[in-house]
C-alpha cells in the first residue's frame, strides 16, 4: 500500500477550510484512503474523522491509499498539502 509522509504547514492546521478541501479532494478518488496522525488512523474522506485527528500547524501526517487510482490520489493530496491547500 503506497504511502506518503507530509507536514501540515497551514496556520489553522487540518481544520476548517483546509480540512474541507482535503476531504473533498480525497473523495474524488475511488481508492480507499487513510490518514494517520500520531496513533490515530482515520478515513480521509470523512470530515468528522479528519477533524478529530487534531492535526495542527507543523503536524506530520501519513497518507495511505489502496485501489486503482491510489497513485493519483496520493499525488493530488500531496500537491494540496504542499501547496498550502491552494491558498497562494
Amino acid at each position: 500500500m503506497p504511502e506518503i509522509k507530509l507536514t501540515v504547514n497551514h496556520k489553522v492546521g487540518l481544520h476548517a477550510r483546509p480540512a474541507s478541501v482535503f476531504v473533498q479532494t480525497a473523495a474524488r478518488f475511488n481508492s480507499d484512503i487513510e490518514v494517520t496522525h500520531g496513533d490515530n488512523t482515520v478515513n480521509a474522506k470523512s470530515i468528522l474523522a479528519v477533524l478529530t485527528l487534531g492535526a495542527h500547524q507543523g503536524s506530520e501526517i501519513i497518507i495511505k491509499a489502496e485501489g486503482e487510482d491510489a497513485e493519483d490520489a496520493l499525488k493530488a493530496l500531496e500537491e494540496l498539502v504542499n501547496d498550502n491547500f491552494g491558498e497562494d
Binding site: 489553522v12 468528522l48 487534531g54 491558498e87
Partner: protein
C-alpha cells in the same frame, strides 16, 4: 427587576417582551424494522431533502447576514454526507434492524461528543453543528417541521441558551428587536448575525438569563452589555429616552455621512477609514469615508506559509487604491514583530518583543521582505492617490534609512521601465514617545504624520495594553498622551505638514472634541464610527473645541477628562 451582565456584541438598545427560544427535544424511540433497505431509502431521501434546505438556508443567510454566517450551512452539508457517519448508520440499521432515526441520533452523538471532548473552541462549535444538522435531518424523517422560530409572530427580544444557524435562519427578522444568549462570545453565530442585521445583542450572559419567562419585559443594552429583566417604570422611561435618542442620533448621523466634516464655524477636517483588505472598500464607501487613513498591509502576509510576491502585493494595493480614485489611500508598511508573529518569517525570540525588532526595524534588516513591498507600492500608486507610511519610527535616522531603500527601489523600477508613482507622499506613524518629542525634526523629512495612539499610550505610560492589570493605563484618556499629541500637531503645522490619527482614539466620540480643538487634520477610524464622528464635528464649533482642548489638557486624570467632556460638549452623549 434584575440586571444581568454579559458581553456587548452589537450596539443599540432594545426594549420589548421576551421570546424564550427553547429547543424542543425531538422524541426518538428505538423501534424494530423488517425491511432495512426501505429504511435506508428513507434515510437517503431525508438527506437529499436536508441538503436542499441547507442550500436554501445558505442563500437566505448570505443575503440577510453575509457570507461569514452563511458558510456554516455548507460545512453542515458535508457533515451529513460524511461516509463514516452514513456508513455507521447503515451498519446499525442492517445489523440491529432498528429504525434509522434512532441509529442516526446515536451515531451523530458519538461524533459530537468526540469533538466536544477535545479542548478547542472551534471543534466545540462543530459539535453544535453536527447536532443541528442531525436534528434537521430527523425532522425531515419524521415529517415534523415545527420550530420554535416559526411561532415568533410579533416583535420581541430573542432569549436563548445559544442559537444555532438553523434556528436563526427561520426567524422572521422583521420581528427580532434584539438578542440575548447565555452562551457564546463576540464571534459566536448570534453575535455575527446581530451585527449583520444591525440589531442590539448581549451574549455570554450566563445562567442569570435562564429565569427569564416568555413575555417578561426586557431591555437589551448592547452598549453596556447588560440585560435588564422586568425593569420598573422609571428605568423603562429612562431606557426609552436613551433608545429614542440613540435612534435619532443614528438617523441624523447616517443622513449626513456623505457630507464633509465641517464645524459650525467652517473648519474642515478629513474623516477616513481604517481598513485591512479589499473587503473593507465597500463598508468604507458606504460610511462616507473620504479615503483610507490606514491600510494595514499585514493581511497579505497572514494565514499562509510563504511571502506574498511583489506581483501579488501590487495587484492587491492597486485594486484598493484605484477603488478610491483621487481620494487618498495610506498604505502602512509591514508592521509585524512584537505580539504579531508570522511563522514563515524567522524571528529570534526576544525578552521584550514590544521593545525589540518589530515593524521597520525588522524590514530594514530584511531587504527581501521590505523591497518587494516598496516596489509593489510604488508601482501600485501610478495613476491614483496612494501614499506610504512607516510604523515604529524612533529617530530621524530611521526615516533616512527607509527613504534610501525607497529610492533604491524607485531607481530599479525606472531602469526596468516600469510605470511608477514618481511623486508619492511619505509619512510616518508617531507611536514612540521619542518621535513625538522630535516631531519638529521629523516634520522636515516627511510629508505627514499619523499618530498611533494605541502604541503611543502604552510606550508613554509604560503599560502593556495586553496586560489586563495595567491596560486601563494604556487605553485611557491620559493627560500625558494628549500633551504629546499637542506637541506633534504644533510641530508639524509649524513646518506646514498635516497630522492624522489612526489609533482607536480617533473613533472615540469623547476624544473627538479634544483632537479637533488641538488642530488634528485627519481622523481615521473603523467605518461604523464614521457617521457618528461626522455628525459630532458638524454640530460643534472649532472655537468651542479649542477652548475645550485647552481646559482638558490641564486636567489631571482620565476620569476628570471624560467627565469634563461629557459636561462641556453635550453632543458627545449618544444615548
Amino acid at each position: 427587576m434584575k440586571i444581568v451582565s454579559g458581553i456587548p456584541a452589537s450596539y443599540g438598545i432594545a426594549i420589548g417582551p421576551a421570546f424564550v427560544f427553547g429547543h424542543e427535544e425531538l422524541i426518538i424511540e428505538t423501534t424494530s424494522i423488517a425491511d432495512p433497505e426501505a429504511e435506508l431509502q428513507r434515510f437517503k431521501l431525508a438527506r437529499e431533502a436536508t441538503g436542499k434546505q441547507l442550500d436554501q438556508a445558505f442563500l437566505v443567510t448570505k443575503k440577510e447576514c453575509g457570507i461569514e454566517a452563511a458558510e456554516i450551512f455548507n460545512a453542515q452539508k458535508m457533515m451529513l454526507e460524511d461516509p463514516e457517519l452514513v456508513g455507521a448508520v447503515k451498519n446499525r440499521v442492517e445489523s440491529e434492524l432498528i429504525n434509522v432515526e434512532s441509529a442516526l441520533l446515536e451515531t451523530s452523538e458519538i461524533f459530537a461528543s468526540q469533538l466536544e471532548a477535545i479542548d478547542d473552541e472551534y471543534l466545540s462549535a462543530r459539535a453544535l453543528d453536527i447536532r443541528d444538522v442531525t436534528s434537521r435531518c430527523l425532522r425531515n424523517l419524521l415529517g415534523n417541521f415545527d420550530s420554535p422560530a416559526t411561532s415568533l409572530t410579533e416583535p420581541a427580544i430573542i432569549v436563548a441558551d445559544d442559537l444555532t444557524p438553523s434556528d436563526t435562519v427561520l426567524l422572521d427578522k422583521s420581528y427580532v428587536l434584539g438578542f440575548c444568549t447565555a452562551k457564546g462570545g463576540s464571534t459566536s453565530h448570534t453575535a455575527i448575525l446581530a451585527r449583520g442585521l444591525g440589531i442590539p445583542a448581549v451574549v455570554g450572559a450566563g445562567e442569570g438569563i435562564s429565569e427569564i419567562q416568555p413575555g417578561d419585559s426586557l431591555v437589551v443594552d448592547g452598549d453596556a452589555g447588560e440585560v435588564v429583566i422586568n425593569p420598573d417604570e422609571d428605568q423603562l422611561t429612562a431606557f426609552r429616552g436613551r433608545q429614542k435618542k440613540f435612534l435619532k442620533i443614528q438617523a441624523e448621523a447616517e443622513a449626513i455621512t456623505h457630507k464633509p466634516a465641517i464645524t459650525l464655524d467652517g473648519h474642515q477636517v478629513e474623516v477616513v477609514a481604517n481598513i485591512g483588505n479589499e473587503d473593507g472598500i465597500e463598508p468604507a464607501h458606504e460610511a462616507g469615508a473620504e479615503g483610507v487613513g490606514l491600510l494595514r498591509s499585514e493581511f497579505l502576509f497572514l494565514e499562509r506559509d510563504n511571502l506574498p510576491s511583489e506581483e501579488e502585493q501590487y495587484r492587491s494595493y492597486k485594486s484598493i487604491a484605484d477603488a478610491f480614485g483621487e481620494k487618498p489611500v495610506i498604505l502602512r508598511s509591514l508592521d509585524v514583530g512584537g505580539d504579531k508573529d508570522i511563522p514563515y518569517i524567522d524571528m529570534s525570540p526576544e525578552d521584550n518583543p514590544f521593545l525589540g525588532v518589530r515593524a521597520i526595524r525588522l524590514c530594514l534588516e530584511r531587504p527581501e521582505l521590505f523591497k518587494p513591498q516598496l516596489r509593489a507600492a510604488l508601482r501600485a500608486g501610478y495613476g491614483n492617490n496612494l501614499k506610504l507610511m512607516f510604523p515604529m519610527v524612533a529617530s530621524v535616522d530611521d526615516v533616512l534609512n527607509v527613504r534610501s531603500v525607497l529610492e533604491q527601489c524607485r531607481t530599479e523600477l525606472r531602469e526596468e521601465g516600469q510605470d511608477l508613482a514618481e511623486e508619492m507622499d511619505v509619512g510616518i506613524m508617531i507611536e514612540i514617545p521619542s518621535a513625538a518629542i522630535l516631531a519638529d525634526q521629523l516634520a522636515e523629512v516627511v510629508d505627514f504624520f499619523s499618530i498611533g495612539t494605541n502604541d503611543l499610550s502604552q510606550y508613554t505610560m509604560a503599560a502593556d495594553r495586553t496586560n489586563a492589570k495595567v491596560a486601563t493605563l494604556a487605553s485611557g484618556f491620559q493627560p500625558a498622551v494628549f500633551r504629546l499629541i499637542k506637541m506633534v500637531i504644533d510641530a508639524a503645522h509649524q513646518k506646514g505638514k498635516w497630522v492624522g490619527l489612526c489609533g482607536e482614539m480617533a473613533g472615540e466620540i469623547l476624544a473627538i472634541p479634544i483632537l479637533l480643538g488641538l488642530g488634528l487634520d485627519e481622523f481615521s477610524m473603523n467605518p461604523p464610527a464614521i457617521p457618528f464622528a461626522k455628525r459630532l464635528i458638524r454640530s460643534i464649533s472649532m472655537e468651542h473645541a479649542r477652548q475645550v482642548a485647552e481646559t482638558a489638557l490641564d486636567l489631571k486624570s482620565d476620569r476628570e477628562i471624560r467627565e469634563y467632556i461629557q459636561k462641556a460638549v453635550p453632543e458627545v452623549n449618544l444615548s
